[in-house]
Amino acid sequence: MIQSRRYKVFRFTMLVLVVLFLVLPIVWMVLAAFKTNVDIYDVAKTIAFMPTLENFTKVFAQGNFGAYIINSSVVALSATAASLVLGVPAAFAMSRFVMNKSALVVLMARVIPGISLLVPWYYIFSNLRLVGSLWVLILSHMFVSLPLIVYIMMGFFDGLPLEIEESGLVDGLTHIGAFWHLMVPLSRGGMATAGILSFIFSWNNFMFALVLSGSSTKTLPVAIYDFIGYASIDWGALMAASTVVTVPIMVIALFTQRYIVAGLTAGATKG
């Protein structure tokens, strides 16, 4: 497609606006992390202010953030990986065989409001002596990730033509072989998208971790709330903690974002 110059200028302007709109509030938040509480309220000091590291010192001294980061990472990675393992084949089956009722069952997991799960789950898991372990966090996060992955992949598989599988069969692959060797590589873009979204949801999940985690398995969002004190709202520290929470996941996003559009190779095969 030949892109006209007008279109290029238009696109550039729009993208700049979009980026500013999405990024400015976060920039503001990160700036606030370097201000004292008094300065945060003072609008005159929005850009010109004396930066301080005291908020970050508070964050790292008070909270055991290294451990929380590890907890959040392990839980998010495991839940996402496990959900991919269970979800991608399921999505494929549901797409090829139009299993609408089953798809609905999977969707139910996402539909159920979290509150109705809290007490029953706590009851079951505490009787199984799993409360406070990472297992229960992974399971509860998988519960949220699985429908997301299944549905995104279903939409993806719906768009892939049947000829691919058929050509694989002609070449001597079994159905399962065709799935594994042809369809899965082609859906890398979809898996990357679904995987990233699932990871993000898991990372930021708060409700389940609040109730089901133990003091050694606490995750980051719960730790952030530690800064909302009875005796003050320590905005500086809160913003610093939020920044700390966001940085690891931004780094991960940085490295994986190119997989999001990896579907380009899929396009080449079809063309």
Binding site: M1, A90, F92, I152, I176, G190, A253
Partner: protein, 307 residues
């Protein structure tokens, strides 16, 4: 020795044959079993509670009251029906804008260009920020007396607005916050769908002399339909259940006049503030029914587009 090997090979073949024949359920069952196991008990428990008068403590004595709770809730025009109204209006508005902007941005990002890596990273940022912290951040930004937004408005001569503090401006402000945070998710899903589309039809249209708009409307969008519906479905369900930003913005009860109280917040308040577990379960079941109805209508569309 040979016979053992042949038997093993034969067994492997039989297994493979069996697996391929039953691949439909082999693929789908693990996921479904997992979901059903975790969901069964809570759903039954919630349904049961909604038929009792449990309050104060879940383990306390409670009596079976049949459908009385449903009657009470469905005739409650003070809290329940307004909450339903707010839930629906919130969802419809944010979905509309998120799909619109999401599609627009996805189209802009479709073809490669210089610096696209940075744009993609920028797009991920609102998504990645912890919702709870984001809610707090917006609360400060929109603060009527000391927040930057009002300061900016006043500096250009527009009167200061109450934003989150105003009885009628609170809900729209939270809609804005939601659109800011979740448009990127729609963008990502649609982008993934766009890049998986084959180029042929669009090339053909271009050769035939169709304009950009025409190609978009008649070729691209229809091909994108399955993905659009997925995005609509996933984002729609989440929007109906929005919780984090509303609580962070207005606290429990959705403000002194319940101005942002949606069904999810109402059920939460019934459960955690009033300890009215039976009523809370009733609201949850009704909420569930509403969501399922919406999904039903949408999946009908998916079936149509699959054919």
């Amino acid at each position: 020795m040979t016979s053992a090997v042949t038997t093993r090979a034969a067994q492997r073949d039989a297994l493979s044959h069996w697996a391929n024949k039953h691949r439909r359920w082999l693929f789908a069952l693990p996921a479904m079993t997992f979901i059903v196991c975790l969901i069964a008990f809570p759903v039954v428990w919630t349904a049961w509670l909604s038929l009792t008068d449990a309050s104060g403590s879940v383990r306390a004595e409670s009596t079976f009251v049949g459908l009385k709770n449903y009657g009470d809730i469905l005739t409650d025009t003070h809290r329940f029906w307004p909450a339903v109204g707010r839930t629906i209006s919130f969802t419809v508005v944010v979905l509309f804008f998120e799909m619109l902007f999401g599609l627009g941005i996805a189209l802009l990002l479709w073809r490669p260009f210089r610096g696209e890596k940075w744009v993609r990273i920028a797009i991920l940022m609102p998504l990645v920020a912890t919702p709870v912290a984001v809610g707090m951040m917006w609360r400060l930004i929109f603060d009527p007396s000391i927040g930057p937004v009002n300061r900016l408005l006043v500096a250009v001569g527009i009167p200061a607005q109450p934003w989150l503090a105003g009885e009628f401006t609170a809900l729209p402000t939270t809609m804005f916050m939601d659109i800011w945070q979740w448009t990127p998710m729609v963008t990502l899903i649609l982008l993934a769908g766009l890049t998986s589309l084959s180029d042929e039809p669009q090339e053909a249209a271009r050769v035939d002399g169709a304009s950009g708009w025409q190609t978009l409307r008649w070729i691209t969008l229809p091909m994108l339909r399955p993905t659009l519906i997925v995005a609509l479905l996933l984002r729609g369900i989440d929007a109906l259940k929005t919780f984090d930003i509303l609580i962070a913005a207005k606290g429990k009860g959705g403000g002194s006049f319940n101005e942002v109280e949606t069904l999810n917040l109402y059920a939460y308040g019934l459960s955690f503030d009033y300890n009215e577990y039976a009523l809370s379960s009733t609201v949850l079941i009704l909420f569930f029914v509403i969501i399922v109805t919406c999904i039903f209508l949408l999946t009908r569309k998916r079936e149509e587009s699959a054919s």
